[in-house]
Amino acid sequence: MTPRVFEVFRRERHGQPFQHAGSLVAPDQRFAEIYAREQYGRRQESDALWLVPREDIHEIVEFPDEFDLKYRRVDGYSIKARLKQARERSGSPPRGEPLGLEETPEAGP
């Protein structure tokens, strides 16, 4: 059998996400497991490992947004000016940034 490339993902502690650690070459899954244990777990630095044959990884890299769907993005909402207007209208004292649930979502999770 021709050796295959396995991508290795490791988790440092329970509850944390798996992160890509590197890759290894092994003739089959059994050898891949032995190599992965030696390379990424012999000092108890990992709490779990994932081994994925490289050809089983399907990568997506392009995310076209032909119609510029702004309402799905943070920059699709310009609350500031309208909020100011509404406050002036109701006679509320001006404040700094919006609070609580009105807070702008982060750009990513």
Binding site: M1, V5, H20, A21, G22, V25, P27, F31, Q39
Partner: protein, 299 residues
């Protein structure tokens, strides 16, 4: 330079990183392969000077620690050769080029290990010099290489601990033991000062221009001196360079190493170069049956 290459260069020079699946300019790929391959070769060849001392280690504990360090270094070679393979050069070809003398390995691994003092100096100071370079590689523009460097630096820090422990045991021992360390330091100082390469300005160093390295050679050497000369001196050891001194502005002055000699050493004319390559040839032929059996077993 075409506009795509220019854009790539600007990306890496502003701290951007690239992945193996991204487009890479030919020159970048060529230089990267050469650099990373030499690093992998060095990890693999670097175990030979220490291997000589497994059977002669003074205690069982030292024997185990030394064996573990050697396992780490071979593991680093495996990880780094993986990076080279993904850049298009198969590991078998890397090993062929290594034993035929076509590719290089680091200068410090071309020297013999004469005493147990050498083992301490290598694990403490050679690994300290290496960690200065490798920490800078955490910011390498080629992300897969930078990622594995995290694990490698972490393991190297154990080696420095082990080396310091060996050195401390010797310098607090008998006068003969102390002398063993001083004598080893006397021999290793020149190779250590050569380790980070010629003081070529960073902007003229293609490895820095492409941000394969994130610092210039002299910066690395200065960091090493700043971090370790005080540690060497506090143990009562003497650095064998009468011109070594720290200027008021914090820059270390030292006797300029013989750079022609460095070139001669890394091109296979060091005191132990041929012996080491000979051993690597022998062991490659000797374990060839293992890979045959493993591949047949897995079939």
């Amino acid at each position: 330079m075409d506009s795509r290459t220019q854009e790539f260069l600007e990306h890496v020079q502003s701290g951007g990183q690239v992945e193996s699946t991204d487009w890479l300019p030919d020159e970048y790929r060529r230089r990267l392969v050469k650099f990373v391959e030499m690093h992998a070769n060095s990890e693999l060849m670097g175990v030979l000077p220490e291997r000589d001392w497994i059977l002669r280690a003074p205690t069982l504990q030292r024997k185990l620690a030394l064996t573990a360090k050697i396992q780490d270094e071979v593991g680093h070679a495996q990880l780094i050769y993986r990076v080279v393979e993904d850049l298009g050069k198969p590991r078998e070809q890397c090993l062929d080029d290594l034993i035929s003398g076509k590719s290089k390995f680091h200068n410090v691994f071309h020297y013999p290990t004469r005493t147990w003092g050498d083992v301490g100096v290598i694990a403490w100071l050679v690994d300290a010099a290496a960690i200065v370079s490798q920490k800078a590689l955490l910011k390498c523009s080629y992300a897969p290489y930078a990622r594995i460097m995290k694990k490698i630096c972490w393991e190297e820090s154990f080696h420095i601990l082990h080396g310091r422990d060996v050195i401390l045991a010797l310098v607090t021992g008998t006068p003969a033991q102390f002398e063993l360390v001083q004598e080893a330091l006397d021999r290793w100082w020149e190779p250590l000062m050569m380790f980070h390469g010629t003081p070529i300005p960073a902007d003229e160093d293609p490895m820095y221009v492409w941000r394969i390295k994130s610092q210039g050679n002299e910066d690395a050497r200065q960091q090493f001196l700043e971090g370790y000369v005080p540690q060497i001196r506090e143990l009562g050891l003497t650095v064998p360079d009468p011109n070594l001194r720290r200027r008021e502005d914090g820059v270390w002055e030292y006797t300029e190493p013989d750079w022609d000699r460095l070139m001669a050493v890394v091109s296979g004319h060091g005191p132990a170069s041929q012996e080491r390559l000979g051993f690597r040839r022998l062991s490659r032929a000797g374990v060839e049956w293992v890979s045959r059996v493993v591949l047949a077993e897995a079939a």
